[in-house]
């Protein structure tokens, strides 16, 4: 009797009402689940309706994509033609016209290497060798002087390759320096420790552009007479010194996260300081700080744009030069939006990769 009642109840169980499933259910759940959210949704929709259609019209309907600057004067929409018309200057700046394949190949090589390094299965010693070979061949491609490629001095390196180079070398050289600084900051030797603390706090306390100023106006005063260092290199040094201080703090966080037992275990094995760090502590600490390091790389990439202020021709500066051309004056919105999209794609790819990495490395604990 009881059994049959249960069976009946089970049979009477109905499907959920249509209001809770499907599109309507989703809408009720996510947009209109109470009066406050309903009002909020309506307000946001109204705001979007005010802004999106005119913007869409401006960017896509009334716009021109491949035309002359004269044709753009007659339209109400965006004039995207400024990009394809000046692409080679925006991307490669003053690199000699006939040689544009060299920075292009360099960039492709770089993207290839980055793409290859994305997969954590490839993180072996061979990766380091590939990178070394890659960096050397990129440098050779850019500078030339061999295989019949004419020499291109560094002051002609400009545009997007310069942006990428400043960021890449900033990271590659800042990382080891940052690790050393972090180790120094955690060191028991008071002299070393205070030196590192002063360095890190000093650099982190001032804006990057004050360092760039230092590199451009003060650094020449430091050098003995007759020796001058290339402007790009000086800016690069400033970026490296700046990034290293930030890396040092990130790595310090990683070092602090290593349990004391690991140090004690290494000590009980009779390992010295160098071996303890190299074999036990750093491999663990650096693994922990990979995601925040990617964060530093992203900001280093964005911060390279500040070299505009000391008149280096990175991709932002070449865009501005294009805009100062009377033919294309007045289309800065289009040019800057394009540049924003370019930076956004690069940075977003890095940050979403860092998030993926964080999830992949978040094992246990």
């Amino acid at each position: 009797m009881l059994n049959s009642r249960i069976a009946n109840a089970a049979r009477e169980q109905m499907k959920p009402p249509i209001r809770n499933v499907g599109v309507i259910g989703w809408l009720r759940e996510n947009l209109f689940n109470n009066w406050f959210n309903s009002i909020l949704t309506l307000l946001v929709l109204y705001g979007l309706w005010l802004f999106v259609p005119p913007l869409f019209r401006w960017a896509f309907v009334d716009s021109l994509w491949f035309s002359s600057a004269e044709a753009c004067r007659d339209i109400n929409g965006a004039c995207w033609s400024i990009i394809p018309d000046n692409a080679s200057f925006i991307f490669f700046g003053f690199f000699p016209k006939g040689e544009h394949w060299r920075p292009l190949l360099t960039m492709l090589l770089l993207f290839g290497l980055v793409f290859y390094s994305k997969d954590s299965k490839h993180w072996k010693r061979s990766l380091g060798i590939y990178w070394t070979i890659g960096l050397i061949s990129m440098g050779t491609l850019m500078y030339g002087g061999v295989f019949g490629m004419p020499v291109v001095e560094t002051d002609q390196w400009s545009g997007f390759p310069l942006t990428l180079m400043l960021a890449l070398f900033g990271m590659v050289f800042a990382y080891p320096l940052g690790v050393l600084l972090a180790l120094g900051r955690r060191s028991k030797l008071t002299g070393i420790k205070s030196l590192c603390v002063v360095y890190i706090e000093l650099i982190r306390g001032v804006p990057l552009i004050s360092l760039l100023f230092m590199s451009s106006v003060m650094f020449p005063l430091f050098l003995p007479e007759g020796i001058s260092i290339d402007k790009v290199l000086r800016a690069q040094v400033a970026i490296i010194l700046f990034t290293a201080a930030y890396i040092a703090e990130v790595v310090r966080g990683g070092l602090q996260a290593i349990p004391k037992g690991q140090y004690e275990a290494a000590e009980s094995l009779g390992l010295g300081y160098g071996k303890t760090m190299r074999l036990i502590i750093l491999p663990q600490a650096l693994k922990i700080v990979i995601p925040p390091s990617v964060g530093i790389l992203i900001s280093a990439f964005k911060d390279t744009s500040l070299v505009v202020i000391i008149a280096l021709y990175d991709v932002l500066k070449t865009t501005q030069v294009t805009l100062s051309n009377p033919t294309w004056m007045g289309y800065s919105r289009e040019a800057y939006l394009f540049l924003a999209a370019l930076y956004f794609i690069c940075c977003y790819a890095m940050s979403s990769y860092s998030r993926k990495l964080e999830r992949a490395l978040h094992t246990g604990r």
Partner: protein, 402 residues
């Protein structure tokens, strides 16, 4: 260090072992030697740089020292915070620059906190549309260099907004054109300063009331409507004073005269673009910090708060935010410092902040070392004072555990 003590101990109890280890195996002594070497290296690098600099300065016959600060600057500064003319000294010009930096940083930090908290909370909203929109805002703002954003807003002011004659007029008395944002204010009247004092008295009264209310609540458990009373006090005192002064309502409305507006308050395009860029960029980072802080609060806390019948707003205000603040404050401090440091990019769009004034000074006097040293000193000052204040606040807010 441990090994050394171990060795001396064993050597003390057991005479067979050699009494000391050779000094290159003793970590203490090795560390000492290493430190001396590094310090000597640093000192000698410093010495070489110093002598080179001396020689170079002599050859280029650049004066050293801060004597130039007393000389006439001879350049104009756009919207100075205090009275300034080109005839004033470099030190006054630099002071104006420093005050401009303080002004844009202070206003920027306030607006950033406001916008960042709103976006951070909306990111967690159950409303799909709102949370996606704020997520998009965060991603876009975080991933575009701030300098590019500044250029964009600045260009927008100059290219998209019309000349004063065709100024946009979104609200009565408010004009938007390529000369900046111009809006009307109450005409100057002596009672205004008195009203400000009355407001401060009101705030102080509110604080006293709150203390008294806490005491009453602790002793008797009665909850008094303290904050309603406090707000009333803050509004009523200045209002009474205003009525007493004969309720002056004269307005200082901007009027178009010739090619520009006169009257009202003008916010220059440089300041507006800088503020807009700094606030939008930094608030995206603040929003992520706020979100992470809120998510760090244990879910049980929310459930417990709901179980005792608090409404969502109350849960947020009384339970989540006080706990989240502890996680939020340290990274928030560094974002505030970032905003202050990023305000130095003002130089790129022609707003006269400290760096911009110092740069002009360097170009005019050639005294690069003093100029860069001043820039660094002032930013270190800002950084250190902000972090001292935030550390104090942090200590005050930290959880007191048994």
């Amino acid at each position: 260090m441990k090994r050394a003590t171990l060795d001396t101990q064993t050597s003390g109890t057991n005479g067979d072992l050699p009494p000391t280890v050779p000094f290159w195996r003793d970590p203490d002594k090795r560390g000492m030697v290493f430190q001396i070497v590094v310090l000597l290296l640093a000192l000698s690098i410093g010495y070489v740089l110093f002598t080179n600099t001396q020689a170079n300065l002599k050859r280029q016959s650049i004066a050293t020292g801060f004597g130039f600060l007393q000389r006439e600057a001879g350049f104009e500064i756009g919207d100075p915070a205090i009275a300034y003319t080109a005839a004033d000294t470099y030190s006054r010009a630099l002071l104006v620059g420093a005050l401009n930096t303080l002004k844009v940083s202070f206003v920027g930090i306030l607006l950033t906190l406001l916008l960042g908290v709103i976006v951070g909370i909306s990111r967690l909203s159950r409303n799909w549309l709102v949370s996606r929109l704020s997520g998009g805002f965060i991603e876009v703002m975080q991933n575009i260099p701030i300098l590019l954003q500044l250029f964009f807003w600045y260009a927008l002011f100059y290219e998209a907004f019309p000349a004063p004659r065709q100024a946009l007029n979104p609200l009565p008395g408010v004009f938007l054109c390529n000369r900046g944002l111009i809006f009307g204010v109450l005409a100057d009247h002596p009672v205004h300063s008195h009203m400000l004092i009355a407001l401060l008295v009101g705030v102080f009264g509110w604080w006293l009331l709150a203390r008294w209310g806490h005491k009453v609540q602790d002793n008797t458990g009665r909850i008094l409507p303290i904050h309603r009373m406090g707000i009333g006090l803050c509004l009523l005192l200045p209002l009474l004073l205003w009525l007493f002064a004969g309720a002056p309502t004269a307005l200082n409305i901007p009027v178009l005269k010739g090619f520009n507006f006169s009257g009202g308050v003008t916010v220059s395009p440089e300041f507006s673009a800088l503020l807009l860029g700094l606030v939008l960029y930094t608030s995206a980072f603040v929003a992520e910090i706020v979100r992470a802080g809120i998510q760090a609060v244990d879910r049980g806390q929310v459930e417990a708060a709901m179980a005792i019948g608090l409404r969502p707003g109350q849960v947020l205000r009384l339970v989540i935010l006080p706990q989240a603040l502890r996680v939020i404050i340290p990274p928030l401090t560094s974002q505030m410092l970032n905003l202050t440091k990023n305000s130095s990019l003002a130089i790129a769009i022609g707003y006269s902040d400290f760096v911009s004034v110092a740069n002009t000074t360097i170009n005019q006097t050639g005294q690069a070392i003093e100029g860069v040293a001043l820039i660094m000193a002032i930013y270190l000052c800002f950084s250190l004072s902000t972090s001292v204040f935030m550390n104090w606040y942090n200590k005050k807010m930290t959880l007191v555990e048994r």
